[in-house]
């Protein structure tokens, strides 16, 4: 746990994902897609209707975020992670279609964790209260689907050295469970 951050490129090399362990700090560079509640609901509806998704999630990373509006001259506004568990009902649908990583905050359901280990998808935790810092790691942003959803639209982000921690690795590791177990003490 902890130590020097490991540099990773997204879309991810499956071999690089296997090496990750819960608690590892990472710096992610490359392409990341954004989607949160409303976009996931539309993804699920498209899948149920047998329609193609507006973006190909194969090998991709989804970041659960709804950024603030960008100031003039800025690529994007503040952009920290939102609570991932709200996407739990939908994530397995995307993981089955090749999604390789998710970035968010908060615990995932047992069904999502099982889907992740089965299909080789890793969950990274970022810190919500670092939203202003994280926006400086985003070097380009463009809406690629559901423009009408505003902050909830699907964006393609170019990120450079985006800091996160491995929460759920491919070996059953879970930073939230391990971290809390290590520091829990008896109540006075």
């Amino acid at each position: 746990m902890s130590g020097t951050p490991r540099k990773l490129a997204s879309p991810f090399d499956p071999a690089a994902l296997v090496e990750l362990r819960s608690g590892d700090p990472v710096l992610i560079s490359g392409i990341v897609l954004t989607a949160r509640d409303a976009a996931h609901e539309r993804f699920a509806r498209a899948i149920a209707a047998g329609e193609p998704l507006p973006v190909d999630v194969e090998s991709q990373t989804i970041y659960f975020v709804g950024p603030t509006p960008a100031r003039p001259g800025h690529v994007i506004g503040s952009a920290g992670p939102t609570t991932a568990s709200r996407m739990d009902p939908y994530s397995p649908l995307l993981i089955e279609r090749g999604l390789k990583a998710m970035i968010g905050k908060g615990r995932r359901s047992p069904a999502v964790k099982q889907s992740m280990t089965e299909h080789g998808c890793v969950y990274f935790g970022a810190v919500e209260g670092t939203a202003a810092l994280l926006s400086s790691c985003i070097t380009a942003a463009e809406v690629v689907a559901y423009d009408d959803l505003g902050t909830e639209a699907v964006r393609r982000l170019q990120v450079a050295d985006f800091p996160a921690f491995v929460v759920n690795d491919l070996h059953g590791g879970d930073l939230y469970l391990e971290g809390q177990a290590r520091w829990r003490r008896a109540r006075a």
Partner: protein, 280 residues
Amino acid sequence: MRTVDVAVVGDAVRELCVRANHEIRDDHLAALRRARNEERSAIGCQVLDSLLHNADVARVEQIAFCQDTGYAVVYLTIGQDVHFAGGDLTEAVNRGVAEGYRAGYLRASLVRTPIDRVNTGDNTPAMIDIQLVRGEGLHVTVLIKGAGCDNMSALRMLTPAEGTPAMIDFVVETIERAGPSASPPVTIGIGLGGTFDRAAAMAKRALTRRSGVPSPDPEIADLERQVLDAVNSTGIGPAGFGGTVTALAVHIETMATHIASYPVAINLDCHSHRVQELSL
């Protein structure tokens, strides 16, 4: 009697919405620094360092500390000798929120109803809470509340027999259930007593108290310390990555209640704890 133009109130709300989202108040910054000194987990210290760094970046660049710029709770403490002129007070407050959110490049995060989920576009309406007091004073406090922590808040009507030990257990249970989703280290507002609705309102208002200032009632202050210690024994830590600081402060407010009731409302606020105030 003092006459106040509602536009003055609207302008204050606009300024406070921007300031609360861009600049973390000194008491919360001090609480984060204290937490950094006390935290024993390395990863927890890293998280706290980033939160403090983030506060600098947000203030210097005048951008939102957190992308969830939440809903605006506007507390108006109004002297009963104040007369408002120049229009509708509620409309003026909502105008202030809409203008502040636009001017500060803040996110519109409210939908018209939980059913149709159509964004209102300007982060209105404000959640307005009015308290009448003696005199001619006028005080405006804006609390910016994100959803991650609000979603993890809870209310329970305990029985007198269950009492205070059950209240403490309920707080710990709520924190355990929230875990990383509430973005710890959290500030915990607790309303004890009153009615179902008043307990929740007290819990929310308790969040506006300066961080870590104990209740003036020594018995309640002691209870605040006990609850804080119980919460920090969970090991959830900063960002939920494990550590010794899960909460920065516990603020308890109490009021009279029914002989049959022990209402407990718990309102959590994330590490992006945002409050600003202004006397007019």
